[in-house]
C-alpha cells in the first residue's frame, strides 16, 4: 500500500489540465514555512486538507476509474506516514538495547563518548533529516556558515586548488554526521569524506540520500559507529575532522578530543561548532528554542553538557591542538538564516590545528582505560620516545 501513494497525486495531473501533484504539498508547506516552527502541526493538517480540496475540484474531470478509491487512499497513506514513523521509532528503540551491548562487551570498563540517552531523541527523528523546512531546517541553513568556514580554512593550507573541486584530494572525517547534512556539501566540493554516527537510522537515512547521486556515492562513505571504534584503524589519516553540533552530546569531551587528535594528520584541522554554556544559552537555546518556539526538538540539548569556548580552548591546547579561530554564530529564527557574530555566548565555531612535529600527549593504548589524569601528564613521556616520534 505504501507504493500506491504516488499514484494518488499522479492521477490529478494525468487527468486534468490542473497540475495538482507534489506542488499542492509544496504549496501547503510554503504557506506554513514562514511560521513553520510555531505551527508545525498545522502543516500536516494542511497537507490533508489541500489534498481534499484539490480532489473535490478535479474529480469531475478525472477520467480514471479508480477515483472513488483515491479518497480512501490519500487518507490511508497519510495515516501510513504516521504509522511508519512510529514503526521506525519502535524498531529503533528495540534495536537500541542490543546496540548498547557491543560497546560494553568489547571494551569492558571503557569510556565511550556516546551518550546512549541522547540517542533516543535522534532515533525518533531519523527520517526527517532531509526535510529542508522541517525540524532540521536550522541545521540546513547552518551549512551556509559551516561549509565556507571549513572550506576556506582548509584552502589556506593549500597552494592551489582545482576549480570546481576545491577540496579534492582531502580526506575528511565527519563525526556525528547525522543524516549527512554537512557530509554531502563537503563531498560535492571534492573531498573524500567518511561520515560516522552512532545512530543506525541516521546512517541509513544518509546512505539512502546519497545513493541517488553517483558523484557523492563515490566520495562519501558512511559507517554506524562511534569515534573510538575507528581510532586505531584510521590513525593519522585525515586532513580534517569535523565535529559539528556534536560535543554538546558526548559524555567525555577530553577523550573525544584525544581521539580526534589521533586520527588527524600532522597539520590537520579540527572544526567544531557547538553551543556555549551561559545563562543566555539556557534562556534562548533551551527555554525559547526547545520549549517555546519549537525551533529545536524538545530534549535535544542538556544545558549541563554545553561547553564554553574557554573550556574548549584549554582542552584543545592541552591535547596538542592549537586553536586558530573562535567565532560566534547567531541564528535569526524569523529569517531562518545564520550570521557570524563577535558574540560567542550562544553558538560558536572553532578551528584548531594539530601542531606539527609534536608528540601525542599519551600513547594510543591508554585511551581506553579511562585514566584521565595521565592524559594531561606530558612530562611523563620518556625523552627517548619523544626523539623517536620527532623523526
Amino acid at each position: 500500500e505504501w507504493v500506491s501513494e504516488p499514484f494518488c497525486w499522479g492521477s490529478f495531473a494525468g487527468g486534468t489540465g490542473k497540475e495538482v501533484d507534489p506542488f499542492t504539498v509544496w504549496g501547503a508547506r510554503k504557506l506554513s514555512s514562514c511560521g513553520n516552527r510555531f505551527v508545525g502541526g498545522l502543516r500536516s493538517r494542511c497537507w490533508g486538507t489541500q489534498a481534499e480540496g484539490a480532489r473535490l475540484s478535479s474529480s469531475a474531470e478525472n477520467q480514471f476509474s479508480w477515483t472513488p478509491q483515491t479518497n480512501l487512499w490519500v487518507f490511508s497513506e497519510y495515516s501510513m506516514m504516521w504509522f511508519k514513523s512510529y514503526r521506525i521509532t519502535f524498531a529503533c528503540l528495540s534495536r537500541m538495547k542490543i546496540y548498547r551491548y557491543p560497546w560494553t562487551r568489547l571494551y569492558g570498563t571503557s569510556q565511550t563518548t556516546v551518550d546512549s540517552t541522547e540517542i533516543k531523541t535522534f532515533v525518533a527523528l531519523a527520517h526527517r533529516w532531509w526535510d529542508e523546512q522541517g525540524v532540521y531546517a536550522p541545521l540546513h541553513s547552518m551549512n551556509d556558515l559551516r561549509v565556507p568556514f571549513i572550506r576556506d580554512n582548509l584552502l589556506k593550507a593549500v597552494a592551489h586548488h582545482q576549480p570546481g573541486k576545491p577540496l579534492s584530494g582531502m580526506k575528511i572525517l565527519d563525526v556525528g554526521c547525522g543524516g549527512g547534512l554537512l557530509t554531502e556539501p563537503l563531498g560535492r566540493l571534492g573531498a573524500s569524506v567518511i561520515g560516522i554516527d552512532p545512530v543506525d537510522e541516521n546512517i541509513k537515512t544518509a546512505q539512502h540520500h546519497k545513493s541517488f547521486d553517483p558523484v557523492l556515492e563515490k566520495r562519501i562513505e558512511y559507517r554506524a559507529c562511534s569515534l573510538e571504534e575507528i581510532v586505531e584503524e584510521t590513525a593519522e589519516t585525515f586532513d580534517a575532522v569535523v565535529a559539528s553540533e556534536v560535543i554538546e552530546h558526548v559524555i567525555d569531551l577530553e577523550t573525544f578530543i584525544q581521539c580526534c587528535y589521533q586520527v588527524l594528520k600532522c597539520g590537520g584541522s579540527l572544526f567544531i561548532t557547538t553551543i556555549n554554556k551561559t545563562q543566555l544559552s539556557y534562556a534562548l537555546g533551551i527555554v525559547f528554542a526547545e520549549q517555546i518556539a519549537g525551533i529545536v526538538p524538545k530534549g535535544t540539548h542538556t544545558w549541563e553538557k554545553f561547553v564554553s569556548p574557554e573550556k574548549l580552548e584549554s582542552i584543545l591546547e592541552s591535547n596538542g591542538l592549537s586553536v586558530h579561530t573562535v567565532a560566534g554564530m547567531l541564528y535569526n529564527p524569523f529569517s531562518g538564516y545564520w550570521h557570524w557574530s563577535e558574540n560567542t555566548s550562544l553558538n560558536y565555531a572553532a578551528h584548531a590545528v594539530k601542531s606539527m612535529g609534536q608528540e601525542p600527549p599519551v600513547p594510543a593504548g591508554f585511551v581506553f582505560t579511562g585514566k584521565t589524569e595521565e592524559l594531561h601528564d606530558k612530562d611523563s613521556i620518556n625523552p627517548s620516545v619523544q626523539e623517536e616520534l620527532k623523526k
Binding site: 505504501w2 507504493v3 500506491s4 501513494e5 504516488p6 499514484f7 497525486w9 499522479g10 495531473a13 494525468g14 489540465g17 490542473k18 497540475e19 495538482v20 501533484d21 507534489p22 506542488f23 504539498v25 509544496w26 508547506r29 479508480w66 532531509w130 526535510d131 529542508e132 523546512q133 522541517g134 540546513h140 541553513s141 551549512n143 551556509d144 561549509v147 565556507p148 572550506r151 582545482q162 576549480p163 570546481g164 573541486k165 576545491p166 554531502e184 556539501p185 563537503l186 563531498g187 560535492r188 566540493l189 571534492g190 539512502h208 540520500h209 541517488f212 547521486d213 553517483p214
Partner: protein
C-alpha cells in the same frame, strides 16, 4: 495493478502530448541508468543559450554537467550576411557586461553592433519630449541584431563543450517533479522525457522556453497575462543621407509607439507597435507608401491641439525660468528613403508575468517568466538580468557545495528578480496605457509629466541606471 496503471498512463503521455499542455506525471522509481545532469536549460533562445554559456564558463561549475535542449535544428553559421537582419535588440550596458563575462561580447564586437549615446522620446499629441543621455556621453546602449548575438553565444558555447552538451531537435514532452522532501524510493531529481522517448534526470531544470513556456505550464505555475491589442512591425530602413546615427528615437503615437534604432551610418531598424489591422496594412502596403507613412509618423504634428500646446509651453517657460541653462529643443530624427525588401514582419504583443519564478529544482528565466511590451527596449535585457542573477546565486551555491536545486538560493534569485522585473513591467504597462489615448486630460497629464521629468536630471539618471542594469 499499480504497475499496470503506471504503464498505461506512461504510454498515454506521449500520445496526449500532441494536443493540450504538457503532462506532468509521477514515477515512483526512477531508472537510475538515465544520465544525471547538474543543470538542464530548456530552450535555446537568446536567454537560454546565454544561461548555458554563463554556467559553462563559470569557474565553480568546472566539474558539472550542463545540458541545453533546443527544439530547433542546429544553425550552421557561415559568413556574416551583408544585409542586416530585421530582428534587433537594444542591449543595455548591464547585459553587455554579462556577455563579456564569458567572452561573447568580443565576438559581437568583431561582427557588428551600433552604440547609441542619446535617446529622444517625445509625444505625438504635444511638444513634450524627454532626452536621455549620460553625462560624459558614455554609451547608453547597443543595438545588435539577434542573429549576431546568437552567433556569438553559440561560438562561446562550443568553447565550453566539455561541460555543456547541446541537444538540437529535442523537445521535452513530459516532466516528472520530485517531492519536496525525500520519500521512500522516489527519485529526488527532475525527470524529463524527450520527444524521441529518451529520458534524462537533472538536479535543476531552468525553463527558458519563451512566453508560452511548456516548463511553466507543466509545473502549474500561475501566469498573469493579457495580450495587448497591438502587433509590432519591424523593418530595416535606409536613411536619406548618411549621418552619425547614434541616437535612438521613439515617438508615442496614439496608435502606439514608433521607434527608430540606429544600425549603421545609413541604416536604422524600425519597431512600430500599432493595432493589428494597421500593422497588417503596413506590412502589406507598397514600399513608397510605407516610407511616407513612417516619415509622417515621425514628423507630422497632426495630433497636436491648441490647448495642449498652450499648456505645454506654459510649463516649459516655467521650467526655463527655474533652470535657464537646460534647453531641450526638439530634434528631428533622420528621414527615411527606402525600406529593405522583405524585411517587414509583424508579431503580436502581450504582457505576461509568472506568479513564481522558482519551485524546488526549477527556475524560470527570460520570457518564460516575464513578457513585456517592446516600448522600453527591455525584454531581452530583463532576460539577461535573470541570467546574471541566477548564475551568481548558482555559482555561490556550487562553491558552498549546496544541492543546486535547493530552494534556499533559488528564492534568493526569485526575490532579486521579481522586485526588479515587476517594477519594470508595471511601469512599461502604465506607459503603454497612458500613451494609447488622445483624451485631453491624460494627454495634459503626460505632457506635463514628461516635461517635468525631463527637467529633473537626477530623476532621469535614476531611470537610466535602472534600465541599464
Amino acid at each position: 495493478m499499480a504497475a499496470r496503471l503506471v504503464v498505461s498512463r506512461w504510454r498515454a503521455a506521449p500520445a496526449a502530448a500532441g494536443r493540450g499542455p504538457l503532462l506532468s506525471c509521477r514515477r515512483w522509481s526512477g531508472a537510475k541508468a538515465d544520465t544525471l545532469y547538474d543543470v538542464v536549460v530548456s530552450g535555446g533562445g537568446l536567454v537560454g543559450t546565454a544561461m548555458a554559456c554563463a554556467l559553462g564558463h563559470d569557474i565553480h561549475f568546472s566539474d558539472k554537467k550542463i545540458l541545453l535542449l533546443e527544439a530547433g535544428p542546429k544553425k550552421v553559421w557561415e559568413k556574416l550576411p551583408e544585409t542586416y537582419s530585421n530582428r534587433v535588440s537594444s542591449i543595455s550596458p548591464g547585459s553587455a557586461t554579462l556577455l563579456s563575462s564569458f567572452g561573447a561580447w568580443d565576438h559581437i564586437c568583431n561582427m557588428r553592433y551600433r552604440a547609441f549615446w542619446r535617446m529622444q522620446v517625445w509625444d505625438a499629441c504635444s511638444e513634450a519630449l524627454i532626452m536621455f543621455d549620460k553625462d560624459n556621453l558614455d554609451d547608453m546602449g547597443y543595438i545588435v541584431e539577434n542573429d549576431v548575438i546568437m552567433r556569438a553565444l553559440t561560438k562561446q558555447l562550443e568553447a565550453a563543450s566539455d561541460r555543456v552538451t547541446v541537444l538540437y531537435r529535442s523537445r521535452a514532452v513530459g516532466y516528472t517533479w520530485p517531492y519536496p522532501f525525500t520519500m521512500a524510493d522516489s527519485s529526488p531529481w527532475v525527470h524529463i522525457t524527450l520527444g524521441d522517448g529518451s529520458t534524462l534526470q537533472t538536479k535543476l531544470l531552468i525553463g527558458a522556453d519563451g512566453h508560452n513556456s511548456g516548463v511553466r505550464q507543466a509545473a502549474g505555475i500561475q501566469n498573469v497575462s493579457w495580450s495587448y491589442d497591438q502587433s509590432a512591425v519591424v523593418a530595416t530602413l535606409h536613411l536619406s543621407e548618411a549621418t552619425e546615427n547614434n541616437v535612438a528615437w521613439q515617438r508615442f503615437l496614439p496608435s502606439g509607439p514608433i521607434a527608430l534604432l540606429p544600425l549603421s551610418d545609413t541604416l536604422s531598424s524600425l519597431v512600430w507597435s500599432t493595432s493589428h489591422e494597421h500593422a497588417a496594412e503596413l506590412v502589406g502596403m507598397d514600399e513608397e507608401k510605407f516610407v511616407d507613412t513612417v516619415n509622417s509618423a515621425f514628423w507630422s504634428d497632426a495630433n497636436h491641439t491648441d490647448l495642449i500646446d498652450a499648456a505645454g509651453s506654459l510649463l516649459q517657460s516655467a521650467v526655463g525660468f527655474l533652470k535657464p541653462t537646460k534647453v531641450s529643443a526638439r530634434q528631428m530624427p533622420p528621414s527615411v528613403a527606402r525600406v529593405d525588401a522583405k524585411s517587414r514582419v509583424l508579431f503580436p504583443l502581450g504582457l505576461g508575468h509568472a506568479a513564481e519564478y522558482v519551485r524546488p529544482r526549477l527556475a524560470l528565466i527570460g520570457d518564460a517568466a516575464h513578457r513585456v511590451h517592446p516600448l522600453a527596449g527591455q525584454g531581452v535585457n530583463m532576460g539577461f538580468g535573470d541570467v546574471s542573477s541566477l548564475v551568481r546565486h548558482l555559482s555561490a551555491a556550487a562553491f558552498n557545495g549546496k544541492d543546486l536545486g535547493s530552494m534556499s538560493h533559488l528564492t534568493g534569485y526569485e526575490t532579486d528578480r521579481q522586485r526588479h522585473n515587476t517594477a519594470l513591467l508595471a511601469a512599461t504597462d502604465l506607459l503603454k496605457r497612458l500613451y494609447s489615448t488622445r483624451a485631453a486630460p491624460l494627454v495634459l497629464l503626460r505632457t506635463w509629466g514628461l516635461q517635468a521629468t525631463n527637467a529633473v536630471s537626477p530623476l532621469k539618471e535614476q531611470i537610466i541606471a535602472f534600465a541599464s542594469k
